[in-house]
Amino acid sequence: MRASTGQTNAKTAGGFFKKSMAGWLFTSPMTLGLLLFTFYPMVMSLVYAFSNFNGVEQFDFVGFRNFTDVFSDRDFYTVLKNTFLHAAISVPLNLVLSYLLALLVNQRIKGIASFRVFYYLPVVIPGIVSGVLWKDIYNPEFGILNQMLQNLGLPPGKFLEASGTAMASLIVLNLWTLGASMALWLSALKNIPEALYESAKIDGITPVKRLFFITVPMSTTMIFYNLITGIIGALQTNSTLVIANSKGRGPDNSLYFYAVKIYHEAFDGTRFNYGYASALAWILFLIIALLTVTVFKTNKWVYYGEDG
């Protein structure tokens, strides 16, 4: 007994590495990947944000100048306003409508599986294809939407090509991919114990009340998840690079989003303002972090199950 303990003790010094070696080796791709492609770039991004780096000749530290320059940049206010307006409408609208869609296809009636497939199908289509397609549909001259409006005796619209209607047109076309959130809701709805509904039925509780007092409270974890990912996604939208004219800005900058602005500053080919673009990225990162933390702090309404 004593001998074996002594042996283990002797082993620990050299055995420490030996014991961990296999684990380290197996996870080493991730360790390297995190260091090379995440942590190092993160640090460098912060360094660039405080410099005037433009890729080649100049690299001087400029203190907080990039961050103060933002306030005299008229584009900054435009992209901030557009990005938030779009997120504030699109995120809740998508949450509610996709939830209703999920409730609809969660019914146990014949042929419901095919409706699930139909509603999910637009999600399968690559975003770039949807962009090309909607540009064609919304085309003021040769688009089928104006043709249909004309056939109904309604006035034509300019949709993505007029500043007044561009944002609304974008929000409407976002609705075609409701199926993505619908699928997530469906898996949440499936996890609600059937027994809850059974006992509610026996107690004579109406379907509407069952929805608001069982279904909705029991899917709050998923509501929370969809809300967080929805906000993070919406604030980084760059889909307008495809559908909006003037290099993704839209008419009178009406579709100019934050991520597109960063793209223009860094990669557009005319400007290489890596310093300024990095500062913009960090400001967006802080905004996203702040919003995420706020949502996390106010998550009293989320039901995590009996065992917390």
Binding site: S20, A22, G23, F26, T27, P29, M30, L32, L34, L36, F37, T38, Y40, P41, M42, M44, S45, G55, L104, V105, I109, G111, F115, V117, F118, Y119, L121, P122, V124, P126, I128, V129, S130, V132, L133, K135, D136, I137, F142, G143, I144, N146, Q147, G179, A183, S187, A188, K190, N191, K201, I202, I232, L241, V242, I262, F267, A277, A281, L284, T292
Partner: protein
């Protein structure tokens, strides 16, 4: 079934009045179902209309596609747009080949790398495991917008600008936190006996990973593959940043992006764009139809729960 059982349990012996009310209820139910189906069908028509229009428009001639009034169905269906699409002059085949190169590389790199790392997390003990796992999962919440500029500068300094390497090489390093997480969860749910038995037989960790655990992970790997395919098949943003000015490296998605934005598209080419759209939509659609049950029923969530 359960519902009728509950009703029968509470119901007194049937009388004529009760039978009548039951008939009324059945009629109401039938009416409700009819309205429900009509509504669901209307939603489906609205959601699928644009894609049907895309397919229909891809079969029109260049003249019809630019003519007024705009028609839904072609007057005479023609494969003109597809002939143009597949011909040598359109470059689309070269673009597709580049996309396939990226896909092939990533469909090997990502499952391989992610499953190696996942095995380490799921089955092995080592110092710093918790820290590394937390660091990995932390990157999930990290907005990509902060990383794109320094990564670009890094890849340029490595001489990767104008090549497809930025879209492939990093995937050999870990294969993405979410994929590792899914595979780890699945590996943890595998019976421990298998691994233990092999251990007693003297199989080392690499052998246990390769010949016992990995083959069992095929369902999750298929799921990872679908994700990889959809991501890189439709990605136009990374190619836009890295290979925009290298014509021989342009991918299909970037090619379509160029044809609709930069290259001043004309309405006469709308049929060609629609044909490209149909071509690009088909593979993801086929994959979806094969794996629709798993995808819609959310294997992701089962994975996280397990």
């Amino acid at each position: 079934m359960k519902r009728s059982a509950a009703i029968q349990f509470k119901a007194p012996p049937p009388t004529i009045a009760l039978a009548a009310s039951r008939r009324k209820k059945q009629r109401e139910r039938a009416a409700f179902l009819t309205v429900m189906y009509l509504f669901m069908a209307a939603v489906a028509v609205v959601l699928l209309f644009p894609y049907a229009f895309m397919a229909s428009r891809s079969l029109m001639s260049g003249r019809e596609v630019s003519g007024l009034p705009v028609r839904f169905f072609p007057t005479a269906a023609t494969l003109e747009a597809y002939q143009k699409f597949f011909s040598g002059g359109s470059h689309y085949m070269r673009y597709t080949l580049n996309t396939l190169k990226v896909l092939l590389c990533n469909m090997i790199a990502i499952p391989l790398s992610a499953s190696l790392v996942a095995y380490g997390f799921a089955k092995l003990r080592f110092k710093g495991k918790g820290l590394l796992f937390a660091a990995m999962m932390g990157t999930v919440l990290l907005p990509g917008v902060v990383l794109q500029i320094p990564q670009y500068i890094l890849f340029v300094s490595l001489g990767w600008n104008g090549t497809l390497l930025p879209m492939t090489v990093p995937n050999f390093f870990g294969g993405g936190a979410i994929n590792v997480f899914l595979l780890r969860q699945f590996m943890r749910s595998l019976p421990k006996d298998l691994d233990d038995a092999a251990k007693i037989d003297g199989a080392n960790a690499l052998r246990r990973y390769w010949s016992i655990v990995l083959p069992l992970c095929v369902p999750v790997i298929i799921f990872v593959w679908i994700g990889v395919f959809n991501t890189y098949w439709g990605d136009y943003y990374s190619p836009l940043i890295y290979v925009r000015s290298s014509p021989d490296k342009i991918t299909l998605a970037l090619g379509i992006y160029n044809e609709t934005t930069v290259n001043a598209p004309t309405i006469n080419d709308a049929n060609l764009r629609m044909a490209a759209g149909v071509f690009m939509s088909l593979p993801p659609a086929v994959i979806f139809f094969i794996f629709q049950r798993q995808l819609i029923d959310g294997i992701v969530m089962t994975g996280i729960k397990g």
